[in-house]
Symmetry: D2
Subunit: 374 residues, 4 copies
């Protein structure tokens, strides 16, 4: 009988919940922010962010440099917001200068929020959130800063407090290394205050009852206890490795991946080295080849999963993911698969060259690591 | 690398998805309905139902006979609907006659939908959906029939097609015997048609892209593959036992539970025998005792989980769940725990009497079962 | 590749192994004893004990009071030992006085070992090992004391050091709450010394290489790492509850079970209250009924698993297990099943009477526990 | 209670057991042989083989070409057999001609058995069992043929019936892709007949009661049900791929591994191409380097697990395993790790060369595979 009744109200559950909330604050690098969890997904987190913080008719600045930032803006529009789009080429990051220009022009502070995706998973580009915040501060613009950190949190340095972010949102299935099934938000006091007068209709995604019940160690809905246990475990793994080391490891594997790609004679989609993503590399398919066909070929012949080109770059790029618990040999095995799949697809790739480049870089940086050991 | 990239687009995934959708149709007893799955929960399913089928300003008839039907109506109101409440005492089912009266008075068909909870988990009462449908048909009233089947589906007979239900909604954590984490809806063609002109702002919960992508074997979001595998397994277990046998088993255990409760000298909250719930029994706490205190005592002394009284019956009832994969001995062990907890809490319960009544009933019905065996 | 090569030689493995060995010493209540683990089973532990400690032609005193003690002696005989049997009725414990008598008669110390089963799982009888040790000490008889603790360790008080046991042997599937698959031995220095000159052919079961390699954190064979992790977890659970509390819990549930059995009008097989087993209760089938048929009936009609009568009491007893992580409600559910199965089998059992007796006893002893709480 | 009592006697258990036994017969390629399972390990299987089939004082021919064949012979000697050793260099297979020579000299048929290891895991050499059988047949020598197939079964072609093997023995942790914890034997009628008069003391390893009880769907000991379920699953996976395809896949990955090793400028330990093992490659450490130190370095710097040199080749070889469910990218990732570890250890390896060789071979053979597809 114990299993057939809801048992998520006891003191053990409260202890688990609070431990997870504290651990997530560490990962968001916040002490002032509030963590809110919903059953859902990253897509749900977009909606939760929008309907809590804003009102129908509000104008917002939507920074768009890829497929996922486009969808984030669509979610805002679907709930009645007026989205002023600031668009960049696929492969470019969000320019803080251009954000500043737009905000400077908004003398009356009609723009209520800036929407940005920290790491554009569709293009492999990481935008400089700190620079955007500095631009906003310089102009003393009161807009909320709403940031999608789905594919950066716990993999690429993200600082909620230092960068004065108002809402950061993600899911558990990337840097937190869990199955999907949750929307995870960090919310500033300013966003919390804004939500009190925000008038988007909301019920399921209303963060007020979640925060109220969480304070008592409960949820207003049946929580996915398994994911909470999973988060506890993930947070312990991240804490043991330490965030700086996690960021360093992702940076190192990502650079090895990029060197391999270039040694294969291919080009990245990302334009600027300082914006290269450390969790995903988007590679331009050589002229005359369709990337969708190539990805299907790679899946069929080697059971290797590459990401397709989304939106404007459909058929033109393939994407290599390198986040989470990946290690050197898994990366190299995957890169070997890419080499073989390209070659057998007809692309003239020198076998072994990409791997040699990646290995050389990994060895060079590994030896530095060993020197640091006691 | 295979694990770090999204792999929910292959043919194996499509086959799994379609198998699960077909299996769910069997459980909803529908061939015409469409199944829609969202990451979320039963609470999310209320929102999905409302925002897809209706528009702000629409009037709906909200049938309320407990805590969960109240919340269903609140969800509708939160999204701008005008909810005409038709209220019943906690312990009563929804009277089809009174629904008919309201609909008959609505000459202009301003009521766009009837909202009902099939099995009110807060009171242990199952309402007669077939009778409500007949009333609507008799009056030729075009309102949509929206039914919460969270604690009835796959446990108590529910017939989507035969009863012409327009939306039925649930989660995976009750009769489907899985962890929570999903909103599951069955949608009629009429509801689908209505959604095309419905104007509630919607994005995450929009069922149109889900249906479109499902038809291609995909999802518009990262799906919780583990829950899909779980559903496949649950559906196989239900199919092996057969739905009629699943309903019979729940009815038998529920009646044993009720007989035990009465033999302990206690009273049910449900008023009418024909409305007794076969998944949950709400028991009135004897005069002079607080049920919240009793439930805490039972948890502390015996590690037994009983449901609290919700809403109007807070402190006045405790609830015994008996759904899912429960067997006779687990039920009897739980009832023994209830006897002991009541006695040690100071309620004058004759030890063993409740169990003897339950055992006698189970034996009587078991022997009939054996006779049926070859 | 990491998975396809044996990886049980690293420092992490050694730390795990040593932690488990220390934890097992606590459970055996020994600081002087040596723990030896083999892939195998309790049956394998009999063989390991015999072939390491003794030589073909050695005479040993085999104490027999049930099926498992009979098999322990058969194992000894199979390896060429001369087993002098000291037999007792099924239901009686091993009399220390009669052991003393035999040893006293053995003036020349030809008996090299005494073989005893601490808790006879076939009869539900726990023998007094302390008394047997005192008898041996009184006579200054140098025989080794070899004790099967398969169904007593971690459930019933067993003291390897205090009782000067030479080999105690068990498996993981009873009080250690794990799947089967291992032979677990505690070995005294005296037994270790004896093994140096013991001449039974041995290879797989030779404990010398296991002890030598364990000291270096390794095994001479591919170890079942999963069972080692399981042991670590079981030992932590036992440590948290504390051994005295584990023994007290088993004693309390066992007494509740016995009271229920008597209130059903049935008789125990065990003769002497001070020898009642706290892990298993063997119940005499009433005259005119065959217990094998009854057990099959209980399995078929209620899916309840009862133990059959073994050896001399085949067809005459059924056995109720109550060890491991069992709680009150699981015991009561099981007893309810026994009542129902007996009644439907034609035995005249007053429904509810056994449960009432068990509940009354559990409540009485539970209230004492609550008084002890802060 | 259901969990606390032994439940391995029901009809479901029997069905599971028989299905597993039949499936194992398919994998051993036998219809006449009998499968025997013991809790234990491959080491235990050596003992089971010896004590059932032979008697103390029996002379046997022990073919030795590595560490594991040495241990197999030691097990025989420990149980009182006279082992005539026929020794070969580490790296050579067992010469059927030399076996024939020894058997021809044994005019009186004093040699009761020939002991061979099919695939010597310590050297990466597969011996020709079919040729040994032909030699025995030619001489009409009645010795039993006892074969260790621990690292060949379900990976390298082994034909129990066609090669008239008398006992073949293994564990579950190699080609059957499970955790260790079992001894698995296939036994011919001739070996079964021999066991009736064999006089090695035996109890735990006696196969007679196992066969007798298995015929009734039971075991004489508490079986590790989890491993039986695991075997069922493994056998289904193997059946789906088909044995010929499993053998082909291992051969292909092994050849890729060998080409990589040679392209790195290293030499194999195995002397003859026709005896190269398809499950393990032993690589000679270049002059001036100690393989134990190298393996520790690889483990420390890359967390890669390589096998050490055993026995006569300690410090002189490292071993790369490539059996079970390994795929191309895992192999290539592992080989990349070997390249990097060698280079950083000071061995002059051309980075990428080994991988290019392996990739080229895999592509060549993969394209042939694709051509076969519909």
């Amino acid at each position: 009988m114990s299993q057939s009744l809801i048992d998520h109200r006891g003191p053990k559950f409260a202890a688990l919940l609070w431990e997870v909330l504290e651990g997530l604050k560490t990962v968001f690098q916040t002490s002032r922010g509030h963590i809110v969890l919903f059953p859902g997904s990253g897509t749900g987190a977009w909606e939760a962010c929008v309907v809590n913080a804003l009102s129908p008719g509000d104008r917002v600045l939507g920074c768009v440099n890829g497929h996922f930032s486009t969808l984030f803006c669509q979610t805002a529009a679907a709930h009645g917001l007026e989205v002023d789009k600031l668009e960049f080429a696929y492969g470019d990051g969000i320019s803080a200068d251009q954000v500043a220009e737009r905000l400077a022009a908004d003398k009356n502070h009609q723009l209520k929020a800036v929407l940005v995706v920290h790491n554009e998973t569709s293009t492999g580009v990481t935008s400089n959130i700190a620079a955007i915040r500095q631009a906003m501060d310089r102009l003393r613009h009161p807009a909320l800063l709403l940031v999608d950190v789905v594919s950066s949190l716990a993999s690429i340095d993200f600082r909620f407090d230092e960068w004065n972010v108002d809402v950061a949102l993600t899911g558990p299935q990337k840097g937190l290394m869990l199955p999907p099934g949750m929307a995870i938000l960090a919310v500033s006091n300013k966003a919390l205050e804004a939500s009190k007068s925000a008038r988007c209709p909301r019920s399921f995604w209303d963060w007020a009852p979640v925060l109220a019940r969480n304070a008592r160690g409960e949820f207003p809905y049946t929580p996915a206890t398994a994911l909470l246990f999973g988060l506890k475990e993930s947070l312990a793994i991240l804490a043991e490795e330490t965030l700086p080391e996690v960021f360093r490891r992702h940076a190192r594997l990502a650079e090895a991946c990029r060197r391999a790609v270039r040694a294969m004679g291919l080009r990245l989609l990302a334009s600027n080295p300082e914006e290269y993503s450390n969790t995903l590399t988007a590679v331009q398919m050589p002229e005359g080849f369709d990337s969708d066909a190539f990805i299907a070929h790679a899946q069929r012949s080697l059971d290797i999963s590459l990401g397709v080109g989304l939106g404007k770059v459909k058929g033109k790029v393939f994407r290599i993911g390198h986040l989470g618990s990946l290690n050197e040999m898994e990366l190299l095995g995957g890169l070997a698969g890419v080499e073989m799949a390209l070659k057998s697809f007809g692309v003239n790739v020198p076998l072994g060259a990409g791997l040699a480049a990646a290995e050389a870089y990994l060895m060079e940086t590994a030896s530095r690591r060993e020197e640091r050991e006691p």
